[in-house]
């Protein structure tokens, strides 16, 4: 028993010395930790701005789609010109949703980098555009689902009081929708954060790429990759905790 323990202690001691050496090699030497710091910075910048772009696009697309669905008959009967314009806009939105949700985000990112924005050298901007346009499709469906889940009686009550469609949306429907979709929206942002890890495909130095660069320098895969995973995990856990808090608050204000 005692001998076993002595052996274990010696082994553990050796292991710890080894751990320290690898840690030093991967993160301290040549200030390699800066790859992770700068990588995280880029990951967060890309995520935040892509999320903002995605929400903006999502609101526009969801508005077009639901306005068309909810007013198709009234526009056809009362305003032919508007009907044609909205029908075209609705079709454009549908194509956008189909293409974006039907192709992998990595491919979209590569098309953006190598074809559409081939002349640009601002790779972070390219990533923001690619991930924002991608996220917009999913956000649009979250908003559209939220609007469609509101009972049609709410629209009819608003209209029968004399509110226009847009004022009915503004005063009556949207306040209820925001409450319903906020958790799903935050979850989409968390998914987006993890999705940006493919940015390295087009030589953007995000968090994942940062870890990968270290791996290439030190020829040790374990520590940089586990560290990258740990950082993602911490950010995601914090964000998830935030979502839970928001959800609980919404529940409290619900009567």
């Amino acid at each position: 028993m005692g001998a076993w323990f002595e052996g274990f202690k010696a082994n553990a001691g050796a292991w710890f010395e080894d751990f320290k050496a690898t840690f030093r090699l991967n993160f301290i030497e040549d200030n390699r930790y800066m790859y992770l710091v700068n990588g995280l910075k880029n990951t967060l910048i890309i995520t935040v701005f892509a999320a903002l772009l995605g929400i903006a696009l999502g609101i526009i697309v969801a508005s077009v789609r639901t306005t068309f669905d909810k007013n198709e008959e009234s526009m056809r009967m009362r305003n032919k010109g508007l009907y044609i314009v909205m029908k075209i806009a609705n079709t454009v939105c549908k194509v956008y949703l189909t293409v974006i949700r039907g192709t992998p985000v990595v491919v979209q990112l590569m098309i953006m980098y190598f074809i559409i924005m081939a002349s640009s050298t601002n790779s972070v901007l390219i990533a923001i555009l690619a991930f924002g346009i991608n996220s917009g499709a999913y956000v649009a469906e979250i908003f559209r689902g939220g609007i469609m889940s509101i009972d049609n009686g709410q629209f009819e009550a608003g209209r029968s009081l004399g509110f226009s469609y847009f004022r009915t949306m503004y005063h009556i429907v949207v306040p209820q929708v925001i409450k319903n979709v906020l958790p799903a929206l935050l979850n989409e942002c968390i998914a987006l954060l993890k999705e940006t890890s493919v940015a390295g495909y087009v030589s953007i130095q995000d968090l994942t790429k940062g870890g990968d660069i270290i791996r290439g320098r030190t020829y040790s895969a374990f520590m940089p990759l586990i560290m990258v995973a740990l950082i993602y995990l911490i950010v995601v856990v914090v964000l998830t905790w935030l979502v839970g808090k928001v959800e609980r608050r919404l529940k409290v204000s619900e009567r």
Binding site: E73, S74, M77, R78, N79, D151, G153, Q154, E156, A157, R159, S160, L161, G162, F163, S164, R167, H171, I172, P175, Q176, K179, R255
Partner: protein, 247 residues
């Protein structure tokens, strides 16, 4: 008798699925100020479709609807303006769940009629007192019973000072013990001279309050008369058949 026609309906048709379903198949009607028109008829006869056409929640396939002489089926007419004059009470209340009772009632008058908030709240409180719900002004719809919700829905419509109120089966979603409290409010309104169009299965209400009862079947008006005559002396076999079932 002809004066003060509030709503005039001419040749109203509403077809679905390219004309295979004729929800309304040619309806003509005049509704005068102060009248209580009760619409009865079997399920699927087009009662709801007709009522909802009156404020264009349904767009007619054919025909014209005049409110105060203006043809609201004409795209150039300001529909929202005309809807303000026509209150509507739904089977499922459709109160706004994220607003208090007072918020439900004052939203439209403040935003659409530009009524000062104070004044709107005072008016709402008076109406709430009248329907015996003065103490629930700060409650949310989810905290009320069905009967209370429907009484709120009625006074919410009244806050716009409408010229006519449309009711689509206002008591059909209520537990039996709550039907009376809602019908009482409607009777009060009728007594005060409010013009009303009421789709209902409450034959007692039709008989007691209706100035005219309209019997619909297959998207058409089959028979109409004052309630005494209509119930005592139905002429068409369809109505006789219907009354035999519901009375």
């Amino acid at each position: 008798m002809n004066d003060n026609v509030l709503i005039k309906v001419e040749g109203l048709k509403k077809h679905y699925k390219g004309g295979t379903i004729k929800a309304l198949d040619g309806i003509d009607m005049e509704i005068r100020q102060g009248e209580v028109v009760v619409i009865i008829g079997p399920s699927g006869s087009g009662k709801s479709t007709f009522l909802r056409s009156l404020n264009l929640l349904e767009y007619p396939t054919e025909g014209h609807i005049y409110i105060d002489g203006a043809d609201i089926t004409n795209p150039k007419v300001n529909l929202n303006r005309h809807r303000q004059k026509m209150g509507m009470v739904f089977q499922h209340f459709n109160l706004f769940p994220h607003m208090t009772i007072l918020g439900n009632m004052t939203l439209a008058p403040v935003k659409l009629l530009k009524m000062p908030k104070k004044e709107a709240e005072q008016m709402a409180m008076e109406l709430l007192e009248r329907v015996g719900l003065g103490d629930r002004a700060a409650a949310y719809p989810g905290q009320l019973s069905g009967g209370q919700k429907q009484r709120i829905a009625i006074v919410r419509a009244l806050c716009m000072k409408p010229e006519v109120l449309l009711f689509d089966e206002p008591t059909s979603a209520l537990d039996p013990e709550m039907v009376g409290e809602v019908l009482d409010v409607m009777k009060e309104l009728a007594k005060d001279g409010m013009t009303m169009v009421v789709v209902t299965h409450e034959m007692g209400f039709a008989r007691e309050v209706g100035s005219r009862v309209v019997f619909m079947a297959d998207g058409m008006v089959v028979e109409e008369n004052d309630p005494q005559t209509l119930f005592a002396n139905p002429k068409s076999p369809r109505l006789q058949d219907f009354l035999a079932k519901v009375l």
